[in-house]
Amino acid sequence: MSAASFDGAVPRPRVADGARAGRTVRAGRALSVRVEGRTLTVCVVLLLLLAAVVSVSLTTGDYPISVPDVLRTLLGRGERADEFIVLGLRLPRVVTGLLVGAALGVAGAVFQLVTRNPLGSPDVIGFTSGAVTGALVVLLVLQLGGWAVSFGALVGGGVTAALVYLLSSRGGVQGYRLILVGIGASAVLQAGNSYLLTRSRVEDAQSAQLWITGSLNGRGWEQATPLGIGLAVLLPVLLVAGRSLTLLDLGDDAARALGVDVGRTRALVLVLATALTALAAMAAGPIAFVALAAPQVARRLTGAVGAGLVTAGLTGALLLLVSDLAAQRVFAPTQLPVGVVTGAVGGLYLAWLLVSQWRRGRG
């Protein structure tokens, strides 16, 4: 079995395509970024869409507030009621969603590059199952709530991911081995999760189910702040490492020949991506599908050479915010958890995307 047998759907970098070679923007000697016309356009469009979704999220709801009022409130000159709703409820939720979506999108892009598998996502290394197990143990066995749940998820996911790394490393972590060991670990954990759900009272089990679906309901600054700090530290490191990631995509030998320390790069970016996923899960629970879909969508939008971490992050944020909006409004007054909508929207969108690509004879 070679890794190449199941990475066929990742579009190969179109190096020979002279028309989109892009140009290099330098800032000093240390930092240089290759900017490509189409990628830049896609990023700008994504940012505009994000701004539009954020303003819709801030202005609409049970208590509509006009755009000028929101702006005034953001500048600290709004009315008290507006202040409570915008700054206390809507803004932290939107910010949390933005950050969670971005974290998942970037983490997914890293996983797909390292495992060289279009289905690569934090799920494949067992992180999500481990996080759910941790949360279920806290919720159902220890009968605790609040921060203890997030902590349980972090411990569960972290321990699982570390175990999977250790078990799959033998002279360096290899993509396919990582995936297989992850599947094995997930199988055990999911069995344990189902067991925990059947052995508890139905009310407890259902509220646990709510958590493990992933939700932004009732998220505030206490979730958004640590997430924001974490991302501010991790994202720049990943973006720098992203350049060697692009070379990894050419294959281990080619990357080695170009001077990349393949083993160390892979281990580093995997740890960083797992940390991003952990932060996201602590804030909102394990939200399905964003990490899987966002990089795929981003890659097809840009058709870009390279890791596409930025576009994947923006796509993830947009996907999550739109889904959260739908989760709040479509079944109102029932507030569905956003995980339900990301799964539905992401799944259907990926299906549509695949079909339209295949119709055109690509991918």
Partner: protein, 361 residues
């Protein structure tokens, strides 16, 4: 070393198997004698069936079990336990085991993806979605109605995944099938979690269905699903030769006289029938379909004419042993078989992955 020995050719080394990972080139490992493997598997299955009939929370001596099976008298309660509980449970175990092992092996051959398992082509998601619809929307409750709903859901979704994967030029390639399955599964599981969050009754039913078990069935489930199991098995075994040819690649396969499209469709139909029936009968049992073909290939090599029949024996044996173990470990309670198989199977898979390159598909 005597100098008269000619240097060995660089190709496949004869004699004892080279160490694991000795060479990145495909090397010919020494295989176990394949008829022996078949015989051992058969014996294992017989032992598993016996254990499944004889072991349980109620201790019944083997002699009494045999008497009960023959219809001879004895303690009425013992007879009842054996005939009404353990026999159906064992039969469900055999049918589901064969179906899971075969469909796993077929799927891995069809998608040429070592990770393929019944979850991949949307079968489990389809069954789960149909199940929550049946309970939550249609208000069905009887076990048999739910079984039929699950079969229907699995079938519809498999066809959908296949159609999606087959759009456009190039047809249903392995990666396309996997991607299509993932996309549709994600959407369906979202629907499932929405349904179970909105309705407590559906959730309560679903959380028990979600843990696959062989317990609590009567024989009607087996007899009703029997056509699915039989047709699926026959269809599966008939595709062995064509799948061997396709394993060489599409073009070589075609040159060897295999019909690429027909083989894919027939294999997919077999997988749907088998997994759909297995999931309907016992709920989703992860891991057996994934792990058994790997175990079997490690013994026999990639020849589907050996992999498929041997999977038919090893998989039910594994499932029944798991079920028996689940009855014993937490006495007087029980652990569902899906939990046991996952706990037992995962370390095996991990050890396999770590020890050597997986047997070539």
């Amino acid at each position: 070393m005597p100098t008269s020995t000619p240097p060995r050719p660089a190709g496949p080394a004869p004699g004892p198997a080279p160490g694991p990972d000795a060479s990145p080139l495909p090397t010919r490992r020494r295989r176990v004698h394949r008829p022996t493997a078949l015989l051992v598997a058969l014996v294992l299955l017989l032992v598993a069936v016996t254990a499944s009939l004889a072991v349980g929370s109620r201790e019944i001596p083997l002699g009494t079990v045999v008497d009960a099976l023959r219809g001879a008298g004895g303690n009425a309660q013992d007879v009842l336990v054996v005939r009404e509980l353990r026999v159906p449970r064992t039969l469900v175990g055999i049918a589901v085991g064969v179906a899971l092992g075969l469909s796993g092996a077929l799927m891995q051959a069809l998608t040429r993806n070592p990770l393929a398992d019944p979850g991949l082509l949307g079968v489990n998601a389809g069954a789960a979605a149909a199940m929550v619809t049946a309970v939550g929307v249609l208000g069905l409750t009887s076990r048999l109605q739910l079984v039929w709903a699950a079969v229907a859901g699995a079938a519809v979704v498999s066809v959908l995944v296949y159609l999606l994967g087959a759009t456009g030029r190039g047809g249903a390639t392995p990666v396309r099938l996997a991607l299509a399955g993932t996309a549709i599964s994600a959407a369906l599981y979202a629907y499932v979690s929405g349904m179970v969050l909105l309705d407590t009754r559906t959730f309560d039913r679903f959380r028990f269905w979600q843990v696959g078990t062989l317990a609590g069935h009567d024989l009607t489930v087996v007899t009703q699903l029997l056509p699915f199991f039989v047709v699926g098995t026959v269809l599966a075994l008939s595709q062995a030769r064509s799948l061997n040819a396709l394993a060489l690649g599409e073009d070589s396969g075609r040159a060897l006289g295999a019909h690429v499209g027909r083989t894919r469709v027939l294999t997919a139909v077999a997988v749907t029938l088998l997994c759909g029936a297995a999931t309907a009968a016992a709920g989703p049992i992860a891991f057996v379909g994934l792990a058994v073909p790997h175990l079997v290939r490690a013994l026999t090599g990639p020849d589907q004419r050996w992999v498929l029949p041997l999977s038919c024996l090893v998989s039910p044996a594994l499932l029944l042993f798991g079920d028996v173990l689940g009855r014993v470990v937490v006495r007087p309670g029980e652990l569902e078989v899906s939990i046991v198989t996952a706990i037992l199977g995962a370390p095996v898979l991990i050890a396999l992955v770590r020890r050597r390159r997986l047997a070539q598909l």
